[in-house]
Protein backbone atom coordinates (compact mmCIF):
# COMPACT_ATOMS: atom_id res chain seq x y z
CA UNK A 1 0.00 0.00 0.00
CA UNK A 2 1.41 3.31 -1.11
CA UNK A 3 -0.05 5.02 1.94
CA UNK A 4 2.89 3.61 3.86
CA UNK A 5 5.19 5.74 1.76
CA UNK A 6 3.88 8.98 3.26
CA UNK A 7 6.77 11.18 4.20
CA UNK A 8 6.50 11.20 7.94
CA UNK A 9 9.22 13.77 8.29
CA UNK A 10 6.78 16.21 6.70
CA UNK A 11 4.45 15.79 9.66
CA UNK A 12 3.97 19.03 11.44
CA UNK A 13 4.50 21.25 8.42
CA UNK A 14 1.58 23.30 7.14
CA UNK A 15 -0.82 21.46 4.86
CA UNK A 16 -3.91 23.68 4.82
CA UNK A 17 -4.07 27.42 5.10
CA UNK A 18 -7.26 29.48 5.15
CA UNK A 19 -6.79 33.23 4.97
CA UNK A 20 -9.89 35.25 5.77
CA UNK A 21 -12.20 32.86 3.99
CA UNK A 22 -15.80 33.90 3.58
CA UNK A 23 -18.67 32.07 2.00
CA UNK A 24 -22.11 33.39 1.35
CA UNK A 25 -25.10 32.12 -0.56
CA UNK A 26 -27.68 34.20 -2.32
CA UNK A 27 -31.30 33.49 -1.59
CA UNK A 28 -33.09 35.77 -4.00
CA UNK A 29 -32.05 39.26 -2.93
CA UNK A 30 -30.87 38.15 0.46
CA UNK A 31 -27.26 37.33 1.13
CA UNK A 32 -26.74 34.50 3.61
CA UNK A 33 -23.34 34.66 5.25
CA UNK A 34 -22.30 31.12 6.13
CA UNK A 35 -18.59 31.56 6.78
CA UNK A 36 -17.14 34.84 8.02
CA UNK A 37 -13.48 35.78 7.55
CA UNK A 38 -12.18 32.42 8.66
CA UNK A 39 -8.47 31.99 9.38
CA UNK A 40 -7.14 28.52 10.02
CA UNK A 41 -3.99 26.47 9.62
CA UNK A 42 -3.96 22.69 9.62
CA UNK A 43 -0.67 20.82 9.91
CA UNK A 44 0.23 17.60 8.20
CA UNK A 45 -0.60 14.61 10.33
CA UNK A 46 -3.22 16.44 12.35
CA UNK A 47 -6.53 14.84 13.33
CA UNK A 48 -8.94 17.71 13.68
CA UNK A 49 -12.46 17.47 15.03
CA UNK A 50 -14.82 20.21 13.94
CA UNK A 51 -17.74 20.74 16.30
CA UNK A 52 -20.54 23.19 16.61
CA UNK A 53 -24.30 23.62 16.48
CA UNK A 54 -26.32 22.71 13.46
CA UNK A 55 -26.13 25.35 10.76
CA UNK A 56 -22.84 26.78 12.01
CA UNK A 57 -21.15 26.09 8.68
CA UNK A 58 -19.19 22.88 9.35
CA UNK A 59 -20.23 21.09 6.19
CA UNK A 60 -19.71 24.25 4.19
CA UNK A 61 -16.15 24.52 5.48
CA UNK A 62 -15.51 20.86 4.76
CA UNK A 63 -16.81 21.31 1.21
CA UNK A 64 -14.34 24.14 0.70
CA UNK A 65 -11.45 22.06 2.04
CA UNK A 66 -12.44 19.27 -0.33
CA UNK A 67 -12.66 21.50 -3.36
CA UNK A 68 -16.37 20.74 -3.76
CA UNK A 69 -17.25 24.39 -3.53
CA UNK A 70 -15.39 27.67 -3.88
CA UNK A 71 -15.04 30.41 -1.27
CA UNK A 72 -16.69 33.74 -1.95
CA UNK A 73 -13.50 35.50 -0.88
CA UNK A 74 -10.20 34.76 0.80
CA UNK A 75 -7.27 32.50 0.09
CA UNK A 76 -7.40 28.73 0.39
CA UNK A 77 -4.11 26.92 0.05
CA UNK A 78 -3.75 23.16 0.39
CA UNK A 79 -0.40 21.48 -0.17
CA UNK A 80 0.79 24.58 -2.02
CA UNK A 81 -2.19 24.68 -4.41
CA UNK A 82 -4.43 27.74 -4.54
CA UNK A 83 -7.87 26.16 -4.52
CA UNK A 84 -9.66 29.49 -4.60
CA UNK A 85 -8.14 30.20 -7.99
CA UNK A 86 -8.85 26.86 -9.62
CA UNK A 87 -11.43 26.27 -12.30
CA UNK A 88 -14.07 23.61 -11.78
CA UNK A 89 -12.27 21.04 -13.88
CA UNK A 90 -8.97 21.76 -12.11
CA UNK A 91 -10.73 21.23 -8.81
CA UNK A 92 -12.15 17.94 -10.08
CA UNK A 93 -8.68 16.68 -10.95
CA UNK A 94 -7.27 18.00 -7.69
CA UNK A 95 -9.92 16.15 -5.69
CA UNK A 96 -9.16 12.87 -7.41
CA UNK A 97 -5.51 13.10 -6.38
CA UNK A 98 -5.60 14.78 -3.00
CA UNK A 99 -8.75 14.14 -0.97
CA UNK A 100 -10.68 11.20 0.37
CA UNK A 101 -14.28 11.79 1.43
CA UNK A 102 -16.20 9.90 4.08
CA UNK A 103 -19.89 10.67 4.51
CA UNK A 104 -22.41 10.06 7.25
CA UNK A 105 -24.49 7.78 5.00
CA UNK A 106 -21.49 6.01 3.45
CA UNK A 107 -22.67 6.86 -0.09
CA UNK A 108 -21.55 3.63 -1.68
CA UNK A 109 -22.81 2.61 -5.11
CA UNK A 110 -25.51 0.06 -4.28
CA UNK A 111 -25.08 -1.80 -7.58
CA UNK A 112 -21.39 -2.45 -7.02
CA UNK A 113 -19.66 -4.88 -4.68
CA UNK A 114 -17.39 -3.59 -1.92
CA UNK A 115 -14.42 -4.35 -4.12
CA UNK A 116 -15.79 -2.47 -7.13
CA UNK A 117 -16.76 0.46 -4.93
CA UNK A 118 -13.23 0.74 -3.64
CA UNK A 119 -11.89 0.47 -7.17
CA UNK A 120 -13.89 3.49 -8.40
CA UNK A 121 -11.35 6.24 -7.57
CA UNK A 122 -8.58 4.21 -9.23
CA UNK A 123 -10.36 4.48 -12.57
CA UNK A 124 -9.10 8.04 -12.60
CA UNK A 125 -5.46 6.88 -12.43
CA UNK A 126 -3.27 5.19 -15.02
CA UNK A 127 -3.13 1.94 -13.09
CA UNK A 128 -3.72 -1.29 -14.95
CA UNK A 129 -6.60 -3.51 -14.00
CA UNK A 130 -4.24 -5.88 -12.17
CA UNK A 131 -2.58 -3.04 -10.29
CA UNK A 132 -5.98 -1.67 -9.33
CA UNK A 133 -6.95 -5.05 -7.91
CA UNK A 134 -3.81 -5.04 -5.76
CA UNK A 135 -4.49 -1.58 -4.35
CA UNK A 136 -8.11 -2.49 -3.67
CA UNK A 137 -7.10 -5.63 -1.80
CA UNK A 138 -4.61 -3.65 0.29
CA UNK A 139 -7.18 -0.98 1.16
CA UNK A 140 -9.80 -3.55 2.11
CA UNK A 141 -7.37 -5.42 4.31
CA UNK A 142 -6.36 -2.16 5.99
CA UNK A 143 -9.98 -1.61 7.07
CA UNK A 144 -10.32 -5.29 7.95
CA UNK A 145 -12.89 -6.23 5.33
CA UNK A 146 -10.99 -8.55 2.98
CA UNK A 147 -13.57 -11.28 3.47
CA UNK A 148 -16.42 -9.06 2.37
CA UNK A 149 -14.85 -7.97 -0.91
CA UNK A 150 -17.61 -9.41 -3.07
CA UNK A 151 -20.51 -8.32 -0.89
CA UNK A 152 -22.94 -5.68 -2.02
CA UNK A 153 -23.61 -2.69 0.28
CA UNK A 154 -27.04 -4.00 1.25
CA UNK A 155 -25.36 -7.20 2.44
CA UNK A 156 -23.17 -5.26 4.87
CA UNK A 157 -23.83 -3.70 8.28
CA UNK A 158 -23.61 0.05 8.67
CA UNK A 159 -20.18 -0.20 10.24
CA UNK A 160 -18.95 -2.44 7.46
CA UNK A 161 -20.35 -0.07 4.85
CA UNK A 162 -18.46 2.77 6.49
CA UNK A 163 -15.27 0.71 6.42
CA UNK A 164 -15.73 0.17 2.70
CA UNK A 165 -16.26 3.90 2.34
CA UNK A 166 -13.02 4.50 4.25
CA UNK A 167 -11.20 2.04 2.02
CA UNK A 168 -12.55 3.90 -1.00
CA UNK A 169 -11.35 7.20 0.47
CA UNK A 170 -7.90 5.75 1.13
CA UNK A 171 -7.26 3.75 -1.98
CA UNK A 172 -5.85 6.52 -4.12
CA UNK A 173 -3.58 7.58 -1.26
CA UNK A 174 -4.84 11.15 -0.71
CA UNK A 175 -3.10 13.71 1.51
CA UNK A 176 -6.19 14.48 3.49
CA UNK A 177 -9.30 12.66 4.65
CA UNK A 178 -12.48 14.68 5.11
CA UNK A 179 -15.24 13.09 7.19
CA UNK A 180 -18.70 14.58 7.67
CA UNK A 181 -20.20 12.93 10.76
CA UNK A 182 -18.75 9.54 9.87
CA UNK A 183 -20.31 7.92 12.96
CA UNK A 184 -23.58 9.84 12.92
CA UNK A 185 -25.52 6.82 11.76
CA UNK A 186 -23.79 4.16 13.89
CA UNK A 187 -24.26 2.76 17.37
CA UNK A 188 -21.70 3.46 20.10
CA UNK A 189 -19.61 0.30 19.71
CA UNK A 190 -19.49 0.43 15.93
CA UNK A 191 -18.79 4.14 16.07
CA UNK A 192 -15.83 3.50 18.36
CA UNK A 193 -14.48 0.91 15.93
CA UNK A 194 -14.68 3.38 13.06
CA UNK A 195 -13.08 6.11 15.18
CA UNK A 196 -10.29 3.77 16.23
CA UNK A 197 -9.73 2.95 12.59
CA UNK A 198 -9.49 6.62 11.70
CA UNK A 199 -7.14 7.15 14.60
CA UNK A 200 -4.94 4.31 13.40
CA UNK A 201 -4.86 5.73 9.90
CA UNK A 202 -3.84 9.05 11.36
CA UNK A 203 -1.13 7.64 13.58
CA UNK A 204 0.26 4.86 11.42
CA UNK A 205 -0.31 6.15 7.89
CA UNK A 206 0.19 9.78 8.76
CA UNK A 207 -3.10 10.79 7.15
CA UNK A 208 -4.31 14.29 7.90
CA UNK A 209 -7.95 14.04 8.95
CA UNK A 210 -10.65 16.66 9.35
CA UNK A 211 -13.77 15.26 10.93
CA UNK A 212 -17.06 17.05 11.52
CA UNK A 213 -18.96 15.64 14.49
CA UNK A 214 -21.66 16.43 17.00
CA UNK A 215 -20.46 13.78 19.37
CA UNK A 216 -17.94 14.88 22.05
CA UNK A 217 -16.83 11.27 22.53
CA UNK A 218 -16.02 11.04 18.86
CA UNK A 219 -14.11 14.29 19.12
CA UNK A 220 -12.02 12.76 21.91
CA UNK A 221 -10.31 10.58 19.33
CA UNK A 222 -8.96 13.65 17.58
CA UNK A 223 -5.74 15.49 18.34
CA UNK A 224 -7.27 18.92 18.00
CA UNK A 225 -10.84 20.08 18.58
CA UNK A 226 -12.20 23.23 16.97
CA UNK A 227 -15.59 24.75 17.66
CA UNK A 228 -17.62 26.68 15.16
CA UNK A 229 -20.51 29.01 15.72
CA UNK A 230 -22.34 31.16 13.19
CA UNK A 231 -19.64 30.83 10.61
CA UNK A 232 -16.73 31.61 12.90
CA UNK A 233 -14.21 29.55 14.81
CA UNK A 234 -14.59 29.99 18.56
Amino acid sequence: MTAQAVNKSAIGSTLVELKSISKHYRKGKEKVNVLNELNLTINRGDFLALMGPSGSGKTTLLNLLGGLDKPSSGELIIGGARLDQMSNSQLTRWRAQNVGFIFQFYNLMPVLTAEKNVELPLLLTNLSSAQRKKHVAAALSLVGLSERADHYPNELSGGQEQRVAIARALVSDPQILLCDEPTGDLDRTTADEILNLLQTLNQQQGKTIVMVTHDPRAADHAKTILNMDKGRLV
Binding site: R95, N107, M109, P110, L112, K116, L120, L123, R168
Partner: protein, 386 residues
Protein backbone atom coordinates in the same frame (compact mmCIF):
# COMPACT_ATOMS: atom_id res chain seq x y z
CA UNK B 1 -14.67 -2.10 -19.60
CA UNK B 2 -15.36 -1.06 -16.03
CA UNK B 3 -17.67 1.67 -17.29
CA UNK B 4 -19.63 -0.75 -19.45
CA UNK B 5 -19.92 -3.06 -16.44
CA UNK B 6 -21.09 -0.15 -14.32
CA UNK B 7 -23.69 0.88 -16.92
CA UNK B 8 -25.05 -2.65 -17.11
CA UNK B 9 -25.16 -2.92 -13.35
CA UNK B 10 -27.13 0.29 -13.15
CA UNK B 11 -29.60 -0.95 -15.73
CA UNK B 12 -29.99 -4.12 -13.70
CA UNK B 13 -31.00 -2.15 -10.63
CA UNK B 14 -34.70 -2.19 -11.52
CA UNK B 15 -34.91 -5.25 -13.68
CA UNK B 16 -38.62 -5.20 -14.38
CA UNK B 17 -38.58 -1.58 -15.41
CA UNK B 18 -35.53 -2.08 -17.60
CA UNK B 19 -37.03 -5.12 -19.29
CA UNK B 20 -40.34 -3.37 -19.95
CA UNK B 21 -38.59 -0.37 -21.42
CA UNK B 22 -36.39 -2.61 -23.49
CA UNK B 23 -39.48 -4.43 -24.75
CA UNK B 24 -41.07 -1.21 -25.85
CA UNK B 25 -37.92 -0.41 -27.80
CA UNK B 26 -37.98 -3.90 -29.30
CA UNK B 27 -41.52 -3.29 -30.50
CA UNK B 28 -40.69 0.13 -31.92
CA UNK B 29 -37.83 -1.26 -33.97
CA UNK B 30 -39.72 -4.40 -34.95
CA UNK B 31 -42.37 -2.14 -36.45
CA UNK B 32 -39.70 0.03 -37.96
CA UNK B 33 -38.13 -2.95 -39.71
CA UNK B 34 -41.45 -4.30 -40.96
CA UNK B 35 -42.97 -1.06 -42.14
CA UNK B 36 -39.83 0.27 -43.77
CA UNK B 37 -39.39 -3.03 -45.58
CA UNK B 38 -42.98 -2.84 -46.76
CA UNK B 39 -42.52 0.75 -47.91
CA UNK B 40 -39.36 -0.02 -49.82
CA UNK B 41 -41.03 -3.06 -51.42
CA UNK B 42 -43.51 -0.66 -52.99
CA UNK B 43 -40.73 1.65 -54.09
CA UNK B 44 -38.89 -1.24 -55.66
CA UNK B 45 -41.47 -1.75 -58.40
CA UNK B 46 -41.19 1.91 -59.15
CA UNK B 47 -37.46 1.93 -59.59
CA UNK B 48 -37.47 -0.95 -62.04
CA UNK B 49 -39.54 0.94 -64.55
CA UNK B 50 -37.42 1.93 -67.55
CA UNK B 51 -36.99 5.57 -68.40
CA UNK B 52 -37.81 4.98 -72.03
CA UNK B 53 -41.37 4.03 -71.18
CA UNK B 54 -43.99 6.70 -70.69
CA UNK B 55 -47.52 6.36 -69.42
CA UNK B 56 -50.39 8.57 -70.48
CA UNK B 57 -53.44 8.89 -68.29
CA UNK B 58 -56.49 11.09 -68.17
CA UNK B 59 -55.46 14.45 -66.76
CA UNK B 60 -58.31 14.41 -64.26
CA UNK B 61 -57.58 11.04 -62.70
CA UNK B 62 -56.33 7.61 -63.54
CA UNK B 63 -59.81 6.19 -63.15
CA UNK B 64 -61.21 8.28 -66.00
CA UNK B 65 -60.78 6.41 -69.29
CA UNK B 66 -59.52 7.86 -72.59
CA UNK B 67 -61.07 7.44 -76.06
CA UNK B 68 -59.55 4.50 -77.90
CA UNK B 69 -58.66 6.56 -80.94
CA UNK B 70 -56.06 8.43 -78.85
CA UNK B 71 -53.86 5.39 -79.25
CA UNK B 72 -54.07 5.54 -83.04
CA UNK B 73 -52.98 9.18 -82.94
CA UNK B 74 -50.07 8.48 -80.64
CA UNK B 75 -48.87 5.58 -82.77
CA UNK B 76 -48.54 8.01 -85.67
CA UNK B 77 -45.95 10.17 -83.90
CA UNK B 78 -42.54 9.42 -85.38
CA UNK B 79 -40.81 9.80 -82.01
CA UNK B 80 -42.76 6.82 -80.69
CA UNK B 81 -41.42 3.28 -81.15
CA UNK B 82 -44.33 1.28 -79.74
CA UNK B 83 -47.57 2.39 -78.15
CA UNK B 84 -50.13 0.21 -76.47
CA UNK B 85 -52.79 0.47 -73.82
CA UNK B 86 -54.00 -1.21 -70.68
CA UNK B 87 -57.15 -1.36 -68.58
CA UNK B 88 -57.86 -2.01 -64.95
CA UNK B 89 -60.16 -4.99 -64.47
CA UNK B 90 -60.20 -5.01 -60.69
CA UNK B 91 -61.50 -8.48 -60.01
CA UNK B 92 -61.07 -11.05 -57.32
CA UNK B 93 -61.14 -14.82 -57.19
CA UNK B 94 -63.96 -16.37 -55.15
CA UNK B 95 -63.53 -14.10 -52.15
CA UNK B 96 -62.70 -10.39 -51.93
CA UNK B 97 -59.54 -11.21 -50.01
CA UNK B 98 -58.17 -13.06 -53.06
CA UNK B 99 -57.53 -9.82 -54.85
CA UNK B 100 -54.77 -9.40 -57.40
CA UNK B 101 -54.21 -7.25 -60.47
CA UNK B 102 -55.75 -8.03 -63.84
CA UNK B 103 -55.14 -5.90 -66.91
CA UNK B 104 -56.97 -6.03 -70.22
CA UNK B 105 -54.36 -5.52 -72.92
CA UNK B 106 -53.36 -6.23 -76.52
CA UNK B 107 -51.07 -9.21 -76.46
CA UNK B 108 -48.44 -8.50 -79.12
CA UNK B 109 -47.82 -4.88 -78.37
CA UNK B 110 -47.91 -5.43 -74.63
CA UNK B 111 -45.27 -8.12 -74.63
CA UNK B 112 -43.08 -6.28 -77.08
CA UNK B 113 -43.18 -3.09 -75.04
CA UNK B 114 -42.21 -5.11 -71.94
CA UNK B 115 -39.75 -7.31 -73.77
CA UNK B 116 -37.01 -6.44 -71.28
CA UNK B 117 -39.09 -7.54 -68.28
CA UNK B 118 -41.25 -10.48 -69.27
CA UNK B 119 -41.16 -13.52 -71.52
CA UNK B 120 -43.92 -15.83 -72.70
CA UNK B 121 -43.16 -19.03 -74.68
CA UNK B 122 -44.15 -18.63 -78.31
CA UNK B 123 -46.53 -21.58 -78.44
CA UNK B 124 -48.39 -20.29 -75.39
CA UNK B 125 -48.64 -16.87 -77.00
CA UNK B 126 -50.14 -18.47 -80.04
CA UNK B 127 -52.63 -20.51 -78.04
CA UNK B 128 -53.56 -17.44 -76.02
CA UNK B 129 -54.28 -15.32 -79.05
CA UNK B 130 -56.50 -18.07 -80.40
CA UNK B 131 -58.55 -18.21 -77.22
CA UNK B 132 -61.00 -15.33 -76.78
CA UNK B 133 -61.34 -15.82 -73.02
CA UNK B 134 -57.70 -16.82 -72.61
CA UNK B 135 -55.44 -15.18 -70.04
CA UNK B 136 -51.77 -15.41 -69.16
CA UNK B 137 -50.65 -15.34 -65.59
CA UNK B 138 -47.35 -14.72 -63.86
CA UNK B 139 -45.33 -17.15 -61.81
CA UNK B 140 -46.29 -15.53 -58.54
CA UNK B 141 -49.95 -16.24 -59.21
CA UNK B 142 -49.13 -19.80 -60.13
CA UNK B 143 -47.35 -20.21 -56.84
CA UNK B 144 -50.15 -18.67 -54.88
CA UNK B 145 -53.19 -20.31 -56.49
CA UNK B 146 -51.62 -23.43 -58.03
CA UNK B 147 -53.23 -22.62 -61.36
CA UNK B 148 -52.01 -24.34 -64.49
CA UNK B 149 -52.56 -24.06 -68.20
CA UNK B 150 -56.08 -25.08 -69.15
CA UNK B 151 -57.62 -24.10 -65.79
CA UNK B 152 -60.89 -22.21 -65.95
CA UNK B 153 -60.91 -19.27 -63.59
CA UNK B 154 -64.07 -17.35 -62.78
CA UNK B 155 -63.42 -13.84 -61.47
CA UNK B 156 -65.80 -11.38 -59.89
CA UNK B 157 -65.09 -8.15 -61.75
CA UNK B 158 -65.62 -4.53 -60.92
CA UNK B 159 -67.43 -3.97 -64.23
CA UNK B 160 -70.53 -5.90 -65.24
CA UNK B 161 -70.85 -7.71 -68.50
CA UNK B 162 -73.71 -6.91 -70.77
CA UNK B 163 -76.79 -8.08 -68.98
CA UNK B 164 -75.34 -7.14 -65.56
CA UNK B 165 -73.44 -10.29 -64.73
CA UNK B 166 -70.20 -9.48 -62.87
CA UNK B 167 -68.75 -12.96 -63.04
CA UNK B 168 -66.26 -13.34 -65.86
CA UNK B 169 -64.91 -16.64 -66.99
CA UNK B 170 -61.30 -16.99 -68.09
CA UNK B 171 -59.03 -19.81 -69.14
CA UNK B 172 -55.31 -19.96 -68.52
CA UNK B 173 -53.44 -20.08 -71.84
CA UNK B 174 -49.94 -19.39 -70.69
CA UNK B 175 -47.58 -18.53 -67.91
CA UNK B 176 -45.17 -15.64 -68.35
CA UNK B 177 -41.96 -15.25 -66.43
CA UNK B 178 -39.89 -12.33 -65.23
CA UNK B 179 -36.61 -11.72 -67.02
CA UNK B 180 -35.16 -9.59 -64.27
CA UNK B 181 -35.29 -10.18 -60.57
CA UNK B 182 -37.91 -8.01 -58.96
CA UNK B 183 -40.21 -7.65 -62.00
CA UNK B 184 -43.64 -8.43 -60.64
CA UNK B 185 -45.36 -11.56 -61.88
CA UNK B 186 -48.54 -11.15 -59.89
CA UNK B 187 -50.68 -9.81 -62.74
CA UNK B 188 -53.20 -11.62 -64.93
CA UNK B 189 -53.41 -10.39 -68.51
CA UNK B 190 -56.61 -10.76 -70.58
CA UNK B 191 -57.55 -9.77 -74.11
CA UNK B 192 -58.77 -6.22 -74.49
CA UNK B 193 -60.93 -7.32 -77.41
CA UNK B 194 -62.88 -9.67 -75.17
CA UNK B 195 -63.06 -7.20 -72.28
CA UNK B 196 -64.27 -4.34 -74.45
CA UNK B 197 -66.78 -6.39 -76.32
CA UNK B 198 -68.31 -7.96 -73.24
CA UNK B 199 -68.43 -5.01 -70.88
CA UNK B 200 -71.63 -3.10 -70.40
CA UNK B 201 -70.22 0.40 -69.96
CA UNK B 202 -67.30 2.36 -71.32
CA UNK B 203 -66.98 0.61 -74.64
CA UNK B 204 -64.37 2.05 -76.97
CA UNK B 205 -62.24 3.50 -74.19
CA UNK B 206 -58.88 2.60 -72.79
CA UNK B 207 -57.49 2.93 -69.27
CA UNK B 208 -54.03 4.28 -69.94
CA UNK B 209 -51.51 4.27 -72.72
CA UNK B 210 -47.99 2.91 -72.50
CA UNK B 211 -45.51 4.47 -74.88
CA UNK B 212 -42.00 3.40 -75.69
CA UNK B 213 -39.96 6.25 -77.13
CA UNK B 214 -37.40 5.82 -79.88
CA UNK B 215 -34.79 7.91 -78.11
CA UNK B 216 -34.49 7.80 -74.33
CA UNK B 217 -33.18 11.34 -74.27
CA UNK B 218 -36.33 12.62 -75.92
CA UNK B 219 -38.74 11.22 -73.30
CA UNK B 220 -39.63 14.61 -71.97
CA UNK B 221 -40.22 16.01 -75.41
CA UNK B 222 -42.42 13.07 -76.41
CA UNK B 223 -44.48 13.44 -73.24
CA UNK B 224 -45.14 17.07 -74.19
CA UNK B 225 -45.96 16.10 -77.76
CA UNK B 226 -48.54 13.57 -76.64
CA UNK B 227 -50.23 15.88 -74.18
CA UNK B 228 -50.28 18.62 -76.83
CA UNK B 229 -52.15 16.30 -79.19
CA UNK B 230 -55.11 16.20 -76.85
CA UNK B 231 -54.95 19.64 -75.34
CA UNK B 232 -58.27 21.45 -75.32
CA UNK B 233 -60.14 18.25 -76.05
CA UNK B 234 -62.83 16.71 -73.92
CA UNK B 235 -60.30 14.36 -72.29
CA UNK B 236 -56.94 16.00 -71.76
CA UNK B 237 -54.01 13.76 -70.92
CA UNK B 238 -51.09 13.66 -68.55
CA UNK B 239 -47.98 11.83 -69.66
CA UNK B 240 -45.19 10.95 -67.27
CA UNK B 241 -42.45 8.41 -66.93
CA UNK B 242 -43.57 4.93 -66.00
CA UNK B 243 -41.67 5.33 -62.74
CA UNK B 244 -43.88 8.19 -61.61
CA UNK B 245 -46.91 6.33 -62.87
CA UNK B 246 -46.20 3.21 -60.84
CA UNK B 247 -45.79 5.31 -57.77
CA UNK B 248 -49.01 7.22 -58.27
CA UNK B 249 -50.71 3.94 -59.11
CA UNK B 250 -49.74 2.57 -55.74
CA UNK B 251 -50.90 5.80 -54.18
CA UNK B 252 -54.33 5.30 -55.76
CA UNK B 253 -55.00 2.75 -53.10
CA UNK B 254 -52.91 4.01 -50.30
CA UNK B 255 -49.96 6.25 -49.91
CA UNK B 256 -47.91 3.48 -48.38
CA UNK B 257 -44.87 5.58 -47.63
CA UNK B 258 -46.95 8.25 -45.98
CA UNK B 259 -48.98 5.82 -43.91
CA UNK B 260 -45.93 3.92 -42.72
CA UNK B 261 -44.24 7.20 -41.83
CA UNK B 262 -47.25 8.31 -39.80
CA UNK B 263 -47.46 5.01 -37.95
CA UNK B 264 -43.75 4.98 -37.29
CA UNK B 265 -43.78 8.57 -36.12
CA UNK B 266 -46.59 7.76 -33.69
CA UNK B 267 -44.86 4.62 -32.44
CA UNK B 268 -41.52 6.32 -31.99
CA UNK B 269 -43.04 9.32 -30.30
CA UNK B 270 -44.77 7.07 -27.77
CA UNK B 271 -41.70 4.92 -27.22
CA UNK B 272 -39.52 7.99 -26.83
CA UNK B 273 -41.80 9.15 -24.06
CA UNK B 274 -41.74 5.74 -22.40
CA UNK B 275 -37.99 5.29 -22.61
CA UNK B 276 -37.29 8.95 -21.89
CA UNK B 277 -39.42 8.72 -18.79
CA UNK B 278 -37.55 5.64 -17.60
CA UNK B 279 -34.23 7.37 -18.12
CA UNK B 280 -35.33 10.49 -16.29
CA UNK B 281 -36.70 8.46 -13.42
CA UNK B 282 -33.62 6.32 -13.08
CA UNK B 283 -31.51 9.47 -13.22
CA UNK B 284 -33.48 11.12 -10.42
CA UNK B 285 -33.09 8.12 -8.17
CA UNK B 286 -29.36 8.30 -8.63
CA UNK B 287 -28.66 12.00 -8.19
CA UNK B 288 -26.79 11.49 -4.87
CA UNK B 289 -24.75 8.66 -6.36
CA UNK B 290 -23.79 10.73 -9.36
CA UNK B 291 -22.85 13.56 -7.02
CA UNK B 292 -20.61 11.14 -5.13
CA UNK B 293 -18.93 10.15 -8.40
CA UNK B 294 -18.19 13.80 -9.04
CA UNK B 295 -16.92 14.15 -5.48
CA UNK B 296 -14.49 11.31 -6.09
CA UNK B 297 -13.09 13.25 -9.01
CA UNK B 298 -15.06 11.98 -11.99
CA UNK B 299 -15.42 14.72 -14.58
CA UNK B 300 -18.78 16.23 -15.42
CA UNK B 301 -18.47 14.80 -18.91
CA UNK B 302 -17.83 11.29 -17.57
CA UNK B 303 -21.00 11.44 -15.51
CA UNK B 304 -22.88 12.67 -18.57
CA UNK B 305 -21.56 9.74 -20.60
CA UNK B 306 -22.50 7.25 -17.93
CA UNK B 307 -26.08 8.47 -18.04
CA UNK B 308 -26.17 8.71 -21.83
CA UNK B 309 -24.39 5.39 -22.15
CA UNK B 310 -27.18 3.73 -20.24
CA UNK B 311 -29.81 5.08 -22.61
CA UNK B 312 -27.77 4.14 -25.67
CA UNK B 313 -27.02 0.68 -24.32
CA UNK B 314 -30.69 0.00 -23.67
CA UNK B 315 -31.65 1.32 -27.07
CA UNK B 316 -29.00 -0.73 -28.86
CA UNK B 317 -30.04 -3.94 -27.13
CA UNK B 318 -33.76 -3.37 -27.71
CA UNK B 319 -33.24 -2.02 -31.20
CA UNK B 320 -31.07 -4.91 -32.37
CA UNK B 321 -33.53 -7.47 -31.04
CA UNK B 322 -36.38 -5.63 -32.73
CA UNK B 323 -34.58 -5.43 -36.07
CA UNK B 324 -33.58 -9.07 -35.83
CA UNK B 325 -37.20 -10.10 -35.26
CA UNK B 326 -38.30 -7.91 -38.15
CA UNK B 327 -35.74 -9.60 -40.38
CA UNK B 328 -36.92 -13.06 -39.31
CA UNK B 329 -40.56 -12.19 -39.87
CA UNK B 330 -39.88 -10.68 -43.28
CA UNK B 331 -37.81 -13.69 -44.30
CA UNK B 332 -40.55 -16.01 -43.10
CA UNK B 333 -43.34 -14.10 -44.83
CA UNK B 334 -41.50 -13.49 -48.10
CA UNK B 335 -42.82 -16.63 -49.79
CA UNK B 336 -46.37 -16.20 -48.63
CA UNK B 337 -46.42 -12.63 -49.88
CA UNK B 338 -44.60 -13.29 -53.15
CA UNK B 339 -47.73 -12.62 -55.21
CA UNK B 340 -48.55 -9.25 -53.69
CA UNK B 341 -45.05 -8.07 -52.94
CA UNK B 342 -42.49 -10.00 -54.93
CA UNK B 343 -38.89 -9.93 -53.80
CA UNK B 344 -39.80 -8.89 -50.28
CA UNK B 345 -36.76 -8.68 -48.04
CA UNK B 346 -35.20 -6.38 -45.51
CA UNK B 347 -32.70 -4.35 -47.47
CA UNK B 348 -29.34 -3.06 -46.31
CA UNK B 349 -30.78 0.45 -46.52
CA UNK B 350 -33.47 -0.37 -44.01
CA UNK B 351 -30.97 -2.07 -41.74
CA UNK B 352 -28.50 0.81 -41.79
CA UNK B 353 -31.30 3.28 -41.27
CA UNK B 354 -32.51 1.16 -38.37
CA UNK B 355 -29.08 1.14 -36.76
CA UNK B 356 -28.79 4.91 -37.09
CA UNK B 357 -32.20 5.29 -35.52
CA UNK B 358 -31.16 2.98 -32.69
CA UNK B 359 -28.28 5.29 -31.77
CA UNK B 360 -30.40 8.37 -32.28
CA UNK B 361 -33.15 6.90 -30.13
CA UNK B 362 -30.66 6.31 -27.33
CA UNK B 363 -29.27 9.81 -27.57
CA UNK B 364 -32.69 11.42 -27.59
CA UNK B 365 -34.04 9.43 -24.64
CA UNK B 366 -30.86 10.00 -22.64
CA UNK B 367 -30.28 13.61 -23.61
CA UNK B 368 -32.20 15.37 -20.86
CA UNK B 369 -30.89 13.31 -17.92
CA UNK B 370 -27.42 13.36 -19.46
CA UNK B 371 -27.38 17.15 -19.55
CA UNK B 372 -28.76 17.28 -16.03
CA UNK B 373 -25.97 14.90 -15.03
CA UNK B 374 -23.42 17.14 -16.69
CA UNK B 375 -24.68 20.17 -14.77
CA UNK B 376 -25.30 18.44 -11.46
CA UNK B 377 -23.87 20.51 -8.60
CA UNK B 378 -22.21 18.32 -6.00
CA UNK B 379 -22.95 20.47 -3.00
CA UNK B 380 -26.63 20.93 -3.76
CA UNK B 381 -27.10 17.30 -4.73
CA UNK B 382 -25.46 16.01 -1.55
CA UNK B 383 -27.46 18.47 0.53
CA UNK B 384 -30.73 17.17 -0.94
CA UNK B 385 -29.67 13.71 0.21
CA UNK B 386 -31.09 14.47 3.62
Amino acid sequence: MYYLYFIMKNLGRKKVRTILTCLSIVIAFLLFGLLRTLGSAFDQGAELAGEDRLVTINKITLIQPLPYNYLTKVKMLDTVAIATQSNWFGGYYQEPRNRFSQFAIEADDYFSIYEDLYSLPEDQMKAWKANRIGVVIGKALVDQYQWKIGDRIPLIGMFPQQGGNTTWEFEVSGIYEAKTKGAETNVMLMHYSYFDEARQYGKGTLGWMIIKVKDKNQSELVAKQVDALFANSAAETKTSSEKDFTKSFAKQFADIGFITSIILAAVFFTMLLVAGNTMTQSFRERIPELAVLKTLGFADATVMWLVLGEAIFLSVVGGLIGLLFAWLIVAGAADALAATLPGLMMTMDVLIQGLLFVILFGIVTGAIPAIQGLRLQIVTALRSRR
